[in-house]
């Protein structure tokens, strides 16, 4: 295990959740799996005290608009969740973040540059995160 480049990151998807396929022309993804904390501070505590609530599962994907890759657009036009598999570096293929998610898309078309696509995803079921084992 080591620090590795994001150049070999990857995003895969599958409507059925069985055999994820590569989403092409992407160059970024983010994942937000922070756990919300509820403030349970009481009289007499010397500092704030929290208890953990639910872990979040949402994030973003981004890259270049490619007319050969419409999966994100089609997914944003659908109310059925799809399976996402996010990998920081494909040279460590066991370290993936995956689960069902709703996806929405956003396009930006500048006059002086390549059109880009970005999307957000929000968990639609339990997500699996990599472990240190």
């Amino acid at each position: 295990m080591a620090i590795k480049t994001g150049r070999y990151g990857q995003v895969k998807w599958d409507a059925a959740g069985t055999t994820p396929v590569l989403l092409i022309s992407l160059n970024a993804w983010t994942g937000d799996f922070k756990t919300e904390m509820e403030d349970v501070t009481c009289f007499g505590d010397v500092n704030r005290v929290y208890i953990p609530g639910m872990k979040d599962a949402k994030g973003t994907i981004g890259g270049f608009w490619n007319s050969e890759e419409l999966a994100i657009i089609e997914a944003s036009d659908d109310d059925v969740p799809l399976f996402l598999e996010l990998t920081p570096n494909i040279n460590e293929p066991l370290f993936t973040f995956e689960g069902l998610a709703y996806v929405s898309a956003e396009l930006e078309v500048p006059v002086a540059g390549a059109p880009t696509i970005s999307g957000t995803f929000a968990g639609a079921g339990p997500w699996t995160l990599p472990t240190g084992t």
Partner: protein, 142 residues
């Protein structure tokens, strides 16, 4: 396999195959420098370039190319104005076919118009006119 040099070669070939441009610049179209003795020619050169990637590969190549006609002021009938206009007609928003790439855009970023005093004979002027052209090509396999 995409080869960046092929983009420049295609650009030079496009300019160099135009009969009107060659009639205005009969010495031809060259990368960086023309042969000694040339008096009316077109120069293509790199100004700047950047690659844009997607996960695992290069996806888009953007280049800014200087494309300008150069003419010796003492040549009778030299028409650099028309040469620069012809360059623009050939390049502005025109497709460029290069193996391994898909054309995205080719357009001028800014015009170029210079008068250069010859280093050997200060009475001679070199007229330079054309533009900086932005070429964006995406890799067909990206």
């Amino acid at each position: 396999m995409a080869d960046t040099s092929d983009i420049a070669s295609a650009l030079i070939a496009k300019l160099g195959s135009d009969a009107e441009l060659l009639s205005l610049c009969p010495n031809g179209v060259y990368w960086d420098e023309a042969p000694p003795g040339s008096t009316r020619f077109v120069i293509v050169a790199f100004i700047n370039a950047i690659d844009r990637g997607v996960f695992g590969r290069r996806a888009i190549e953007e280049g800014i190319y200087l494309v300008e006609a150069r003419m010796l002021s003492t040549v009778q009938g030299a028409n650099i104005k028309r040469a620069a206009a012809r360059i623009d007609e050939l390049l502005e928003d025109q497709p460029l076919t290069v193996a391994g790439y898909t054309w995205s855009t080719m357009h001028r970023l800014e015009p170029v118009r210079l008068t250069e005093v010859d280093e050997v004979d200060p009475s001679i002027r070199w007229n330079r006119r054309g533009g900086q052209y932005f070429i964006e090509m995406s890799h067909t396999d990206a």
